[in-house]
Symmetry: D2
Subunit: 283 residues, 4 copies
């Protein structure tokens, strides 16, 4: 069922819900899902509506025009999207296949509502797997001595493929600040620890040294500060003294896959709002 998704953040005050739902009712909009959140700490209000597109008398452009005065009145940050216009997601990977294979399978079986115009990797190992899915594979090696040309090429590819979203599916390279800024809140990373524990390299080794009893994974938007962007989703799995670092790596893969695919799904369905480096996720 095709829907329009209206996503709003604005300073909280009386009458927002009434104004918006009146607007929708005026045009006979059939609301299939509605979520609100008042954040008492920040004084902001967040709201997401999903409306049957066939119940409305206009397209996305007319919707935007009709809604603009209300948005201005309440100083809203807002967007409206059409569920039938799939987001374009560029996947980036390195040598590890588990997250990439998981996302490709979900996409291939129709579970992940997006288009995947290409996969970018700094290695060539995963080419055959990607190409079996009918997706172009762009091998962009990164020279450790001079990474700049590679990231220029990455940036070019993202723009060339008109991507809305970039997913670092265990890409293992730190994006340069300029790329982070250029695609702010469009780049999603999966970090293989329960942040803020174990930032940076080799988190499973760090976890083993500290002797924790659960390990986790974190899906977050990439910002200039490493592993410090707004968290979209997290989860953990129990381990014990019997589990070596290798066992943690294996067990962690399943958590990484699950957390990344859930987080990406929320993003693709316009369920994530970011405010003050934190997310509201209308799951």
């Amino acid at each position: 069922m095709r829907t329009f998704r209206l996503v709003i953040a604005c300073p909280d005050r009386v009458g927002i819900v009434a104004k918006v739902s009146n607007f929708l009712a005026t045009y006979n909009g059939w609301i299939t899902e509605a979520s609100h959140h008042s954040d008492t700490q920040s004084g902001w209000f967040f709201m997401r509506h999903e409306i049957r597109a066939d119940s409305l008398p206009f397209d996305l452009e007319e919707f935007r025009r009709a809604f603009a005065p209300i948005a201005r009145e309440f100083s809203m940050k807002w967007r409206v999207s059409d569920s039938s216009e799939l987001k374009r997601v560029v996947l980036m990977a390195s040598r590890e296949s588990h997250c990439l294979a998981d996302l490709l399978h979900r996409w291939h079986s129709g579970e992940l509502p997006c288009e995947i115009p290409c996969v970018i990797s700094n290695h060539d190992e995963l080419r055959s797997m990607v190409e079996w899915h009918g997706i172009p594979y762009c091998h962009v090696p990164v020279d450790p001595q001079d990474k700049e040309p590679a990231f220029a090429e990455v940036s070019r590819l993202i723009r060339e493929h008109a991507a809305d979203t970039v997913v670092l599916a265990r890409y293992m390279q730190i994006l340069p600040p300029q790329l982070c800024r250029e695609f702010a809140m469009q780049v999603i990373n999966i970090h293989h620890s329960f942040l803020p524990s174990f930032v940076g390299a080799r988190p499973y080794h760090q976890a083993s040294l500290r002797g924790v009893k659960l390990i986790g994974a974190t899906c977050h938007y990439v910002t200039e500060e490493l592993d410090a962007g707004p968290i979209i989703e997290q989860d953990v799995v129990r381990i014990s003294h019997r589990d070596s670092v290798e066992d943690m790596v294996r067990l962690g893969k399943d958590v990484e896959k699950m957390v990344l695919s859930r987080g990406l799904r929320y993003h693709l369905e316009d369920r994530v709002l970011v405010h003050d480096n934190r997310t509201v996720v209308f799951a």
Copy 2:
């Protein structure tokens, strides 16, 4: 913060949200929480609003009068409650103390928003614990040959204490059909299995025989059919071959306590709507 809680179920159609939120905006109602749910299978719509009482110009009675025409227009089943009018909860227990002690502690520390006018038990073991909390203890023994007088007394006590809610905190007796009907959707039970598995007596023994790898607990409204009422909350805990039935009983107690207290909390905060023997829980 004192709030009014408006809880609505009605056949789905366009304009419900607009009408209700308009109503609230008209009176400058400050919505602190709003939840909606369209059930596409049944064609019903469910909705709960929490509104700051001090933002509204009327009390509960006037609210009801003002809202009644809207409720009629949309054929709503609805209720509005005042968070400062605490529900009156009669707890019933047998010999096992874990659920009762847990609820009493939560109430005593201010975590559970209710009044507890009395505890009813078919045994006398838990009297001292209850009375330490300053709550009257009513010992109503059940004669296995003739249970009728005991349940008549139970019914009388519930009415005498003007209870809104009865919680069977491991009461271990099956309520007679008449009591189930008299207090429909007011009696909450904790069953020590993951329903619908292991209905009836000795569920941990049944679980051990079947060799399951997780055991659970279920909080549900009591209906005339044993362990078949609408489920409010469930949870599980992992077990292994090492766990004897006694271990399961011990591990299960923690799940029972958690599930019952969560389920009761949802009920006390008017977060549970029942339709077609299933619940909508606006958690």
Copy 3:
């Protein structure tokens, strides 16, 4: 690291551990993992040792000869296997790809210690995916009017490929009793419910009707009685009133994959012992 896995079940009595560990110490066996379990209800004792193969002076055949007298003395049911002799696993699937794709990827990335001589399916949809992995695909259609020839062919293929293990990765057909007997405790199924709840067809629909708050999956050995064989592994995922049957199907897929791959891994590593229709899993 190559290991021998010694797996024992016998009536419990004093001296079993001493006898077995003496035997291993006599030959300088380096034990890397040891697990014991005394079942007080049945009076049986279960035990599993993993021993570095290079620490022992003999091969599997000599091990068996040397250990046989001890096994007789204690009336042991026992087996010893070599971790370098990979089990041969025939996968069976229908149209749904999620479990099959998950197992194939784990095998392909070296995570699942087994050989996969072929995949058998009653449909042809998944051929290309399987063949990309370099695994033969056997299409054996099942005639609803006369299933016998298909299952005769299935049985022949299993034997022809010298399979130790058959995995029903959402095969969606009930195996005939004769096949269940022929490959007893060698056929592993994934059932898409938290057994014993929701046996048989369309468990997610059954779960939706009952209004449960968690759904699950169960990995078990196939016996003649439908969905009643020994349970190897189970898990659950939380759902809410917002989740339609389609959502449950989607969420359930992830649980099915995880539970099946964990259960299969236990089986491949000889961690599962069956007694009285229940399992001991030395995870």
Copy 4:
């Protein structure tokens, strides 16, 4: 059933299990539980046996004498305890009652195998609750300007009551280094975060600021470095943007209680071995 618990840590080599199980078999020891662990990183071996006391021909003292030569031969750190000699546990609390009430109820209902000679608190609020359980309440106020006299008194009370174990059940004061050293690996703390995240004060506020999607609790032995001692047990609970800091505090309480009671139980049953600031927990 009364058991002896033999707990051993030593450098790994061939023959340890054989030697120990031979020793036990020589005296007809009936092993009810046995757990081993080889840590390949450190090269250490860990082992725990539970043996029916009535199957052995000697008491604890004779056991120690008989076993000493073996312990020397393998350079073992070891201990043997009698399950009927309950550990003496001093509980320390502040104003918050949830952890204390939970432990007291478990003890009172016979679930926690220990004696509780007294409760020490820097406030007087919880006196009545403690005394209802028949346990002496020692009020030791802590002067923020000069904490030394208070901790001298605490140390005196612990020794006077011949405590084996001290539990900081949300005591909210940092123990001085000298106390940490005096009772090394005998003081158990519950920290209200998923360590190593959010060390120190107000972890729920820290968690809220970072926008994590799960919060947790950690049970650990107290060392001189704050919140950095060996972790015994951890767990988490899911939160969302809807949960305020107050909600986190409430939800966290349940995790704290569960994690502390599980960790303490492991300790009381001699299931925890510490090596290199990490624990082996034979749960």
